[in-house]
Amino acid sequence: MREITFAEALGEAILEEMQKDPTIFTYGEDIAKQGGIFGAYKSLLGKFPDRIFDTPISEEAIYGSALGAALVGMRPIVEFHFADFLFTGIQSITLQIEKIRYMTGGQGKLHLLLRGPDGISNSAAAQHSESIETIFMHTPGIKVIVPSTPYDIKGLIKTALREDDPVICFEHKMLYKIKGPVPEEDYTIPFGIADIKREGNEVTVVTISRMVHESLKAAEELKKEGISVEVIDLRTLVPWDKKTVIESVKKTNHLVVAHETWKRAGWGAEIASVVQEEAFDYLDAPIIRIGAKNVPMPFAPNLQNFVTPDYKDVIEAVKQILR
């Protein structure tokens, strides 16, 4: 199968759906002329000039306008530039997009997609490095997708663009350039179906996004020591695939949850809680959570590395849980 990058797969998904559906259009900061800060829209440069455009730096209006455009029948895709900047327009999402359908008793279709980069990059420091997917998993009213591979992002974005509910997609900055197999023919990936990225039988690692790759690297290392790790990529957090996780725990009897966002009250705590509520008898050891240390992201490379989890933390957690 041909291999393309994560960014190219995203671009293909958007372009193919735009060709089919004239109501799709996409806007945000630095996308039309520049192709996005991290190149997410590079493959869309020069395409559909009327339907891909740049906006002023007005996040509350950008996010809120997606809601209005959806309500009059359009299907907007909004780029949020940096996940951190979701906070500058947060009321339009958490108080409007997430609530309007519910509080009006189910009126209207909110087919809109918010998408953009999140996570660490090279020393972007505290205001340009955040992973905040937990917040949107916590506040009801939006579906949360967090793809880790070119194949997954294309399939999940296509599903988002055919759904009638609001979706937010977090794309890790360090993933845009990774390559992977993506079929040429049309396909979609349903929400709420996890992907077992590596099968194993001693420890289950549940993860998403960049940490999928760190976990796979850890699993490869651990294999050399004779330890078999199963890596489950949830792919979507709302809804999340409880069934696949619990089935895996029943097989391995050990669970590690790994994410880049802060450990304290990160979404891993939710997964851990549900698993102990519903599969306690299958656990041979306490569940271990891996997440960033509970400080804002520091600037200096060694400080950033200290705060952010990677494959070494996964190796350590797996060894600890088997001890």
Binding site: T55, G68, L71, M103, G108, K143
Partner: protein
């Protein structure tokens, strides 16, 4: 301009229905019949009425926490409105929204909004969508002087201006942002002056004069429908009642309020219609009686409507909720 008797009496009737709806809502709330909060539109009826007389059914509006008047003037079903205030299954939002979140997308009301300024970005988006669809619909964003000091106001006006969106921003300046007087919270006398900063027309009018509201809006609607872009209308009025029913109103004196009752919009139109011999006392009584009858019927409808089941709280979040953990 000359108007037909029917047209003028229609304006009058709409204002009278809004007034009676609000008086009844106030009474019911004070009697402990209604849960939540109620924000009354009493004294501001001319704005919704005058603006909406220019709109088509397929035009859109965004409303505010003080939104009953906008709903009624846009043609909402009063029974469903009252049922929503009662939190009943037959209400506009099946009891999930209440007074502050009342909406009817089928008549273009994209929602009242509990967030001051919250409707402005939504209105801009509706305008953007209309422009993308190349339709000749328009959007009116209602908001108050309080909202004019939010970031959403500035972002939305600039956004609408750069893309020339068919959005009319109708600022209902009722002299109060909750308990704070506009004089204390806003540095300029006429907020419409801010339109200059976005390169769009801005005009301040007497919001208690329904004809002035109608005529100004007519001009701006024409402009918006013909791809002329957005505009800002500041309609000055006065919030005769408190911010919410039950407001102790420690921030103003009774005398001040009494003075404004003399200039309220329904009496103002009445005087004109009576002097032009358009409204006889018989007709006037009939209009008020009809309005009261309608409202009483709405109350009866609401009270006889079923209360939602607890489990109904787990519906209407998503269209496709497969796999969702309620």
């Amino acid at each position: 301009m000359d108007y037909t008797k029917d047209f003028l009496l229609n304006l009058y009737s709409t204002m009278v229905i809004i007034r009676n709806f609000e008086l009844k809502a106030e009474q019911l709330f004070l009697e402990g019949e209604l849960p939540g909060f109620i924000h009354l539109y009493i004294g501001e009826e001319a704005i919704a009425t005058g603006v909406m007389a220019n709109l088509r059914k397929d035009d859109f509006i965004t409303s505010t926490h003080r939104g009953h008047g906008h709903m009624i003037a846009k043609g909402a079903d009063i029974n469903k409105m009252m049922a929503e205030l009662y939190g009943r299954e037959t209400g506009y939002c099946k009891g999930k929204g209440g007074s502050m979140h009342i909406a009817d997308f089928s008549i273009g009301v994209l929602g009242a909004n509990g967030v001051v300024g919250g409707g402005l970005p939504i209105a801009v988006g509706a305008g953007l969508g209309i422009k993308m669809k190349k339709s000749d619909q328009i959007v009116v964003a209602f908001f108050g002087d309080g909202a004019s000091n939010t970031g959403a106001f500035h972002e939305s006006l600039n956004f609408a201006a750069i893309y020339k969106l068919p959005v009319i921003f109708v600022l209902e300046n009722n002299m109060f942002a909750s308990t704070a007087s506009t004089k204390e919270t806003t540095a300029i006398e006429n907020i419409s002056d801010r339109a200059v900063g976005y390169g769009i027309p801005g005009i301040t009018i007497d919001g208690n004069d329904v004809i002035a509201v109608y005529e100004t809006t007519q001009e701006m609607v024409k402009r918006a429908r013909n791809s002329g872009g957005p505009s800002l209308i500041e309609a000055k009025t006065y919030r005769i009642k408190g911010h919410f029913v039950g407001d102790p109103e420690l921030y103003r004196g009774k005398k001040e309020v009494e003075g404004f009752w003399l200039n309220e919009p329904i009496k103002k139109l009445e005087k004109r219609l009576e002097s032009e011999k358009i409204l006889s006392s018989t007709e006037k009584n009939k209009i008020w009686e009809n309005a009261q009858k309608k409202i009483e019927e709405a109350v009866k409808f609401a009270k006889e409507s079923p209360i939602p089941h607890g489990k109904d709280a787990l519906t209407d979040l998503f269209i496709n909720d497969s796999g969702y953990d309620y």
